[in-house]
Amino acid sequence: MSSGPHPRFDVLVLGGGIAGLEAALNLAEQNFSVAVVEKDATIGGKMIRLSKVFPTLDCSSCITTPKMAAASHHPNITILTYCELQTLTRQNGDLLAMIIQKPRYVSEEKCIGCRQCEYECPVLVPDAEQGGFAGRKAIRIPFSNAIPQKALIDPENCILCGRCAKACPTQAVNYYEQPEEFTLAAGAAVIATGFEMLPLEDKVQYGQAQIPNVITALQMERLLAPHGPYNRVLRPYDGKEPDNIAFIQCAGSRDQSMGVEYCSRVCCMYAVKQAMLLSGALPLADLTVYYMDIRAFGKGYEQFFQTAQAMGVNFIKGKAAYLDPGEDGAVKVRYESQEAGGGVRLAEHDLVVLSLGLLPGWNPEGRCALSTGGDNFIKTVKPKTAPTLTGLEGVFVAGAAAGPKDIVDSIAEAGAAAMEASRHLFSKQ
């Protein structure tokens, strides 16, 4: 940080997911100072929450955690978690970012991550990090790979009983913390705000989260993850080991009736991957993928898809139209079998995974002058010659912030955005 009224960094990276971290590391390696501003209590983004990743089936943690650790230990990188960008404006050639540090109610400096508070806390809350399938405490460290390993309290569920404060060996708990506003200056910014998944509640025909055993793909990631809620794949309805699992593709993508015309790009491959992982975890299970077009377009993806077919995953052409609860936790899927002599079919599955579409993770409206496309993702101005350029000088975009994107493509874009940012900084020197 240099002199001036506000702490100054060469680059502000908005979002500490895989794209943001990759961009930050690429910039830091060129000796630029970088601030990573993350709205969550931990960096790692969506990727750290995944099980394994296609098409190599590497465990996701094994790739994400080293990047997280590398960023958090890099002398040129400052990581600011649980921070929300309020505004990003331009002043005298610099970008000024007004940021709100949300209260953790636990001092980040004092907390040593011992989790004593968590064991003491009496309140159980559905743990969003586990797809809601298990509980967590009102005070907790987000998950075992989180960076930083610092506790935070969720005030909606805290009863101020004081047990955590008493248990804390370093007196880190502070119930009175308030949001704090601060401002950073930066020479350039990389927007890597990622995506959110379409809410399960949105699609009426798929039961709006009211049918037991209809889950989202991210929930399936948790079931498959080594740190998952059950440490194995079970039906959330009653703990049965499912032996008949279906995936429903384009659940909210390529669907103008849902207001999402675009393809979410990653769902085909993650469904194929999850089916493959399930066939490993549950070798006897029947696996079905209902799809319109399998979009296995990336390097090694088509071969991955062919392997899944060879492993016996059943691919059915056709969009599932309607889901209904069946007997005993079963889910009924209605679809049109397009084969000769086909027609409307009703299939029953133990567990149904919705490959829900991707929505932008962040809306710049009212925060900065970035514009968005018809798909509400950040607009890029030169998609063919400088794909990470936005309409704002010195502001670049990487990863799913500019449209759904898989990890490989996000990482490539993060490199490209870091390159553009370093060009920009160099030209100002």
């Binding site: 025909q205 103008q256 009736s257 969009k319 139209a321 309607y322 679809y335 049109e336 409307v344």
Partner: protein, 102 residues
């Protein structure tokens, strides 16, 4: 239908009966499976016949068109907004006009 020849003039002919969005269908099958009739490939079958110009097929199977309840669920849920329900109404108009001409 062995080796039926695709006939694109039919799509033009249908426009006169208000069928103008059917080609936007991408054959996902939602309409067939959401239709309360739960009947074969209906209504996608009719859409597809309109696509490839299987005029005779539509005339042969005309009675199926009158099974439709005009409830509009297919049109509301169609991911491409191709209006399958409206297509059925249009095909009824076409068939009736054809019958009246005959």
């Amino acid at each position: 239908m062995a080796m039926a020849l695709v006939n694109l003039d039919f799509a033009e002919e249908l426009k006169a009966y208000g069928v103008d969005t059917a080609l936007e269908c991408f054959n996902c099958g939602t309409c067939a499976a959401i239709c309360p009739l739960l009947f074969e490939h209906f209504p996608r079958k009719m859409i597809r016949y309109a696509h490839v110009g299987a005029r005779e097929k539509i005339l042969e199977q005309a009675q199926d068109l009158w099974r439709c309840l005009h409830c509009g669920l297919c049109t509301r849920t169609c991911p491409r907004q191709a209006g399958p329900g409206e297509l059925i109404l249009g095909l009824r108009r076409f068939v009736l006009a054809h019958a009246r001409r005959a």
